[in-house]
Subunit: 363 residues, 2 copies
Amino acid sequence: MSSHLKKLRVKIRENQLDALLVSNATNRRYLSGFTGSAGFLFITQSDAVLATDFRYVEQAGIQSPDFRIARIGGGFAGWFPELVNTLGARQIGFESDDLTLASYRQLVKAARKLPPKSRPSLVSTQGMIESVRAVKDVDEIRLIEKAADLADAAEEYAVTSLRPGMTEKQLAWELEKFLKEKGSEGLPFDIIVASGPNSALPHAQPSDRVIESGEPVVIDLGTRTQGYTSDITRTICLGKPSAELVRISRIVQQAQDAAFAGISSGISGGEADRLARKVIEEANYGEAFGHGLGHGVGIDTHEQPRLGQNSSDILAEGMVFTIEPGIYLPVWGGVRIEDMVLLEKEGPRIITRASKLKLREGS
Amino acid sequence: MSSHLKKLRVKIRENQLDALLVSNATNRRYLSGFTGSAGFLFITQSDAVLATDFRYVEQAGIQSPDFRIARIGGGFAGWFPELVNTLGARQIGFESDDLTLASYRQLVKAARKLPPKSRPSLVSTQGMIESVRAVKDVDEIRLIEKAADLADAAEEYAVTSLRPGMTEKQLAWELEKFLKEKGSEGLPFDIIVASGPNSALPHAQPSDRVIESGEPVVIDLGTRTQGYTSDITRTICLGKPSAELVRISRIVQQAQDAAFAGISSGISGGEADRLARKVIEEANYGEAFGHGLGHGVGIDTHEQPRLGQNSSDILAEGMVFTIEPGIYLPVWGGVRIEDMVLLEKEGPRIITRASKLKLREGS
């Protein structure tokens, strides 16, 4: 965590701030290791304070050795002015995309308790920590790889568990049990098992529909390891895949391969999306690829960078993100193939390894 | 849902608003039935609009028949001014305890797109819908009772499943499987299984500690049925409870009984808390009851009213809340007994029915 703090302090300086008040729960965990549900960080160049209530003081002391723990109660008024005064911070950033208006007003009121000459300016920031989080260090990559390995194992397990007569819900529950018994810390998102026509909806929920042979079965799942998540999708099949399923799967795979081959450090999320979308458009399914190409994965399963048609996020070495083209055809169904990659100097290295539907001619 | 909307419209009128913009996810679901992860409601006396993006338009149409569905993209600027203009709303409330400062600023900017004479006033509101939600109607009570029945069954199952050598994590996982296989829609919160010294922490997480005989085992769990949740705690025991466990349990039960007997419509959450706390204080364990007496239960497992030392929430007929006194003794452990009640004319009716530790003399 101390390396995360170090990277953030550079950002704080670049933004000409004396301090940053952190309210977002994921950012709090990323910087401090603290997993409690309530608390604020207050970070300057020389100090780092974790302010939380009586429920979490003991836990915070154990989880966040780089932080001084301040026990707080009530609103900002009870601790913010004193802390600002002690640390002499004047330009204080806060997360305006996290703090509610009501909390912000309390914060302003608390700041006004200070005498005019020591009263700070509250500076709105957005995405400052999120951009630091987007580039992973070796420890984070190790945890993400571990989370990806378990997700791979679950996708393999899905292939062996899928039996005639099984419903989407039954298969989803088998997969959930598998993941939790193998040690996933909860599930970062509900498992998607979508078969036949249901697979035409990218965010379908498992239903009581019985899975039939030959049709697409989209299985999208993730796991969590020491806070870090994984996210993978396979489109599998009970029995022999229909000719249509093989044909559509091939196009989606070609689109994904084009992204694997073309993505490199320095291009934008929009350019990355274009690489895959072009393949799908050329196969005349452009309209059927209704979502972006991918998203960063870390403590949050959806974080920076965003790979999509209008994304100006610049891809950089050390980023971990999904590449997940799909084709969704109402009534018939859909195919999505999602892998996680780590962007290295040489290009994207694929982290997820679960088998894919066999797509060779004649298979 | 239409009865919820009707109740809210009375509130909107009382607050001299022409419209309310709803951003909070639970409030959105409560009023519209819509379960998607993104969208806003815009409610006037004569109209109700659910604005959501392309991912959810179809689902919204099915789940929210009382609402007109508006497909939106981007920020407020794309739809808010036009809607305000069409409906002629001037005083528009918004949820300042939910909207982030960044979103609020976007909203203000969007409102400024209108010509001065049709530009609305944005009025900060807090807890308006939450206070409506606190009083349940018959349909909601039926769902909560169903959710409570399943939670009861899980507590009974815990007693029969608890075997020598079992760890807290193992028991928690058995209970999770039981709940999900019996149809709970996910779990509203992580199951707590806390044994021996661990039970001294009200929010302990299940650990690898092996549960020993005679000691307290606090089991706190809940379920979800068509959106509505339940929340129950039992303190059970492997084998014969120690004399100390029986003694402490009796005090906690007496405290809970005092609350059952004394709570009535019209008293405050603070007065309710006092009824139970007095019993625990008189037994000289006042310091060991470190949390409030209870909380409302509905779509959120923690909602209004709050029953605690400084709560001025007034209890009213139709409210559903927990009564959960506890005594927590560092090193030794803790006992918490939590039941859900529906406040009726005659007083609280207990909804949860799972067995409790036998506390008769000589047992």
